[in-house]
């Protein structure tokens, strides 16, 4: 335990609170136990001057130091004003109750720490404990919001001094938790420490305009302006769909017209826009399955109507509401009976669970996950499937939002058990799975050395699980498949597999669920999954 960090250290001026030691990281199975490069790149002197990295030497936001004491004072006051709003029912009706519960009576048994993949993988860096953020927040509240008597604070040892440095570290620390809520699941009192990370982000974003640019400017703001968080406009979408139709014909010989803006269709399918840019085979597979099963479906070309992402769910209530409403408006203008969400975890949480109270009147169009629909298609025998076409080792990754948050556990397993003869579970799995390490937007945050951190630390447990699930077939010549029905998780796997050279060393490919279904379709001439495009 050489990393013992005290909360007092958190407020210490200058220097770094925690140092990630490569030797302390949780060991990976061979051949990943010997990595030549340093796990996390060091920032240059110039970068360090420009961006604050005094938490752990990693930068997700990279706040610039204040130019003057007045600026620093204004910064602190703004934060405290936001904090006060966080605890009023008028300003924070969304998450006030779970927030106060968590802060009020956590008994600090610390049992949740061992449930946290980031804390474990980092070699138990105290700074990453799920209880760390709530404890810091509790102290700030005790001193600056509740204004408790100094003697009482002394007795509770809850003193803290706020300065720019402390807040900059807190802002960064809020982006070291993937919001996977594994800690909340094991809490004996139901405290939700992950939510505290999200609420801290909310104060920084809603009150101070501070958020990683991938989530805000290039994320939800761009989505509301041009139509999708990837910057893809409706015109570009049409181009891509033409390309997708050609690809489908080339791969399967089928001529499929992807329905676009079809009025009165039964179901509007919304994909994560990342699929259009990075994984068009996912769209192709959806189109092939829905076409073969005779589902009456359509895509939309309205702003946000073709992009299921709603980054607000990770950092900002206002952006969240704006996007949710635009998505529902797109469905309303088409007059569809329901919205089906494609393979995207956070869109499930955002669209199905959280949007419930925002969509009023006729905007409240039923929203469903694509997984039960796919299960129904596969298990009912509506399309002819030949499992022997998927005769390679397959394991399943459970996206936290679908599985732990919503409890969609069985459909994807029933599908895989039917179509993949070599399906095996990783340990632990189902509702007790580990996060991919890219949760809550990490997979898209590309700031300086942050991608290194999420490959080396937050995704480490997942990589270990995947390698161990295939430990009976470690040879790279044997092609293996990790099924991850979530765009964000796939983004994390793409970066992490590249970082460790997983394809070269172990021959593991990642991809969605629908690709496996299409690959098993009996009447296709050639396999759908193209291993060479790893």
């Amino acid at each position: 335990m050489k990393n013992n960090m005290k909360i007092e250290d958190f407020c210490r001026p200058g220097g770094q609170v925690a140092e990630i030691d490569p030797a302390e990281l949780i060991p990976l199975p061979p051949p990943y136990d010997k990595m030549e490069k340093a796990p996390i790149r060091k920032l240059t002197e110039e970068q360090r001057k420009r961006m604050d990295a005094s938490l752990d030497g990693v930068v997700a936001i990279g706040l610039a130091p204040p130019a003057s004491p007045e600026e620093e004072k204004a910064f602190i006051e703004k934060f405290l004003a936001g904090l006060e709003k966080l605890f009023s029912a008028e300003d924070n009706w969304t998450f006030l109750q779970p927030l106060t519960h968590t802060l009020d009576y956590c008994v600090k048994c610390q049992i949740c720490s061992d449930a946290c993949p980031t804390y474990l993988a980092s070699g138990r860096q105290d700074i990453y404990r799920p209880t760390m953020r709530p404890e810091i927040l509790r102290r700030i509240i005790s001193k600056y919001v509740k204004k408790e008597h100094p003697l009482l604070r002394k007795f509770k040892a809850s003193d803290i001094d706020l300065d720019w440095q402390t807040l900059a570290r807190l802002a960064e620390l809020a982006y070291r938790c993937t919001l996977c809520r594994r800690c909340a699941q094991v809490c004996l009192l139901g405290c939700d420490n992950a939510l505290v990370s999200r609420e801290i982000r909310k104060v920084f974003s809603q009150q101070m305009g501070i958020a990683p640019k991938e989530l805000h400017e290039k994320g939800s703001v761009q989505q509301l302006r041009v139509g999708s968080s990837t910057g893809m406009t409706p015109a570009a979408l049409k181009n891509i769909l033409e390309f997708v139709e050609e690809e489908i014909e080339e791969k399967t010989g089928r001529k499929i017209k992807i329905p676009v803006d079809k009025k009165g269709a039964d179901m509007l399918l919304i994909h994560n826009a990342g699929e259009f840019m990075a994984w068009p085979e996912n769209l192709e597979a959806f189109a092939i399955i829905l076409d073969a099963a005779g589902v009456d479906w359509t895509l939309s070309t309205e702003i946000a109507g073709y992009d299921s992402v709603n980054y607000g769910v990770w950092y900002d209530d206002v952006q969240f509401a704006r996007v949710a409403i635009r998505q529902s408006q797109a469905a309303k203008s088409l007059g569809v009976r329901k919205i089906s969400l494609g393979e995207c975890g956070h869109a499930h949480k955002a669209g199905i669970v959280v949007a419930d109270r925002i969509l009023t009147g006729d905007l409240n169009i039923p929203r469903e996950s694509c997984l039960p629909l796919l299960e129904e298609i596969v298990l009912s025998g509506r399309i002819k499937l030949d499992p022997s076409r998927n005769n390679f080792p397959v394991t399943l990754h459970d996206p936290c939002n679908m599985v732990r948050l919503m409890g969609i556990v069985a459909p994807q397993r029933r599908i895989l058990k039917k179509i993949c003869p070599q399906f095996r579970e990783m340990e632990p799995h189902g509702v007790e799975n580990y996060c991919c390490g890219g949760g809550s937007g990490f997979a898209i945050i590309q700031s300086t050395n942050f991608p290194d951190w999420r490959s080396a630390v937050s995704g480490r447990m997942k990589l270990k699980q995947i390698i161990e699930a295939f430990q009976d077939v470690p040879e790279p010549e044997i092609k293996k498949y990790v099924c991850a029905p979530c765009s964000n998780c796939k983004g994390q796997f793409r970066d992490m597999f590249e970082y460790y050279g997983v394809w070269e060393k172990s021959g593991i490919l990642y991809g969605g669920l629908v690709e496996l279904i299409v690959n098993a379709m009996a009447d296709l001439k050639k396999p759908f999954i193209q291993w060479e495009w790893h």
Binding site: A89, D104, A184, P372, R404
Partner: protein, 331 residues
């Protein structure tokens, strides 16, 4: 750090101890026997209710339970009604498992790095001793009701009889007394022995444990080593209940310490993390049914929003818009 935090809490207990003794041997002893009981009890009840009202007033806009199993979905997909309840009965069942059996704590695993690989072990010790402590504390509190009720209700006698079933020693050692001591000792040692836990523990974490240990020890002392006159104690307790507090005689000094600790606990309770006793029932991650996909959850507190549509807007400003050269939909 640990020395400091633990030290402060032990010091606080010692101060309480001494003040209890000081009061006991001074003419002010009526403070402890006649005034403080009411003060502590009122603070406890009012504070307790205040905290609950504060929590209950906070809105719960949507369902955010933590699900630990398959939720209710298509009819042929087997759901898990207790781990992911879809109705109020399931939520009650889940809460019962949580409160009576500490289900979530049981779920925990421990991860140890052995050699070069992580090994998942069981973390059931905390569950076992935690459960032991809470159950025995409940039984002890219930047993104490015999001081406040005359005639003693048969179920209290029954409970005491079962608790002292093995008839070890004279007077009989209650199993719950031994269990509560074991539970508390485990919880206390865990905080001191586990380094990761020790350095993050604060004064209030130790204080709760040391205070409870103090109450239990003084209680055991009175029963087994320095017997208090039970009749006098009962008169004292009945005096409180009937609002005619008496000054007891011949009850020994230990009881003053015991009482002082109990009143401290009562008064401190509503402001401490011990409020988890009430909070666990209100915890939205546990007490909500996971029915987001089945039911619409209407927002009960929002007033209807007055909407100013574009048509109305244009109606109002049409002339001005025309003058400013802005396009209008209707002429």
């Amino acid at each position: 750090m640990i020395e400091k935090h633990l030290g402060i809490s032990v010091l606080a207990i010692l101060i309480l101890n001494l003040s209890a003794l000081g009061i006991a041997f001074s003419p002010l002893s009526f403070l402890l026997t006649a005034i403080l009981p009411y003060v502590a009890f009122v603070v406890f009840i009012v504070g307790f209710i205040y905290r609950i009202v504060q929590w209950a007033k906070a809105p719960v806009p949507f369902r955010i339970p933590t699900t630990c199993g398959q939720q209710t979905s298509l009819p042929w997909i087997k759901n898990n009604p207790l781990e992911s309840p879809s109705n109020v009965w399931g939520a009650i069942g889940r809460m019962a498992m949580e409160v009576f059996l500490f289900r979530s704590l049981f779920r925990n695993t421990d991860v140890a790095i052995m050699g070069k690989r992580p090994v998942y072990g069981s973390a059931k010790w905390l569950w076992f001793f935690g459960l032991l402590f809470h159950w025995s504390l409940l039984i002890i509190v219930l047993r104490h009701l015999r001081f406040f009720i005359e005639p003693i209700a048969p179920w209290i006698n029954g409970l005491s009889a079962i608790d002292g079933f093995f008839e070890i020693g004279v007077p009989t050692l209650y199993l719950s007394d031994a269990a509560v001591l074991a539970g508390l000792t485990f919880l206390f040692l865990r905080r001191i022995v586990v380094p990761q836990l020790r350095y993050i523990s604060l004064v209030t974490d130790y204080f709760a444990l040391v205070l409870l240990l103090g109450i239990v020890t003084t209680g055991l002392m009175m029963r087994h080593f320095f017997p208090a006159d039970l009749l006098q104690v009962k008169n004292l307790a009945l005096g409180w209940v009937t609002f005619a507090p008496t000054v007891p005689k011949g009850v020994g000094t230990v009881i003053y310490i015991h009482l002082c600790f109990v009143f401290t606990l009562l008064a401190w309770f509503p402001f401490s993390k011990l409020m988890h006793m009430a909070g666990v029932f209100l915890s939205p991650t546990r007490n909500l049914a996971n029915d987001s996909r089945m039911r619409r959850h209407l927002n009960p507190w929002n007033a209807p929003v007055k909407v100013h549509t574009y048509e109305e807007y244009e109606e109002e400003f049409r002339e001005k818009m025309k003058l400013a050269g802005l396009p209008v939909e209707k002429e």
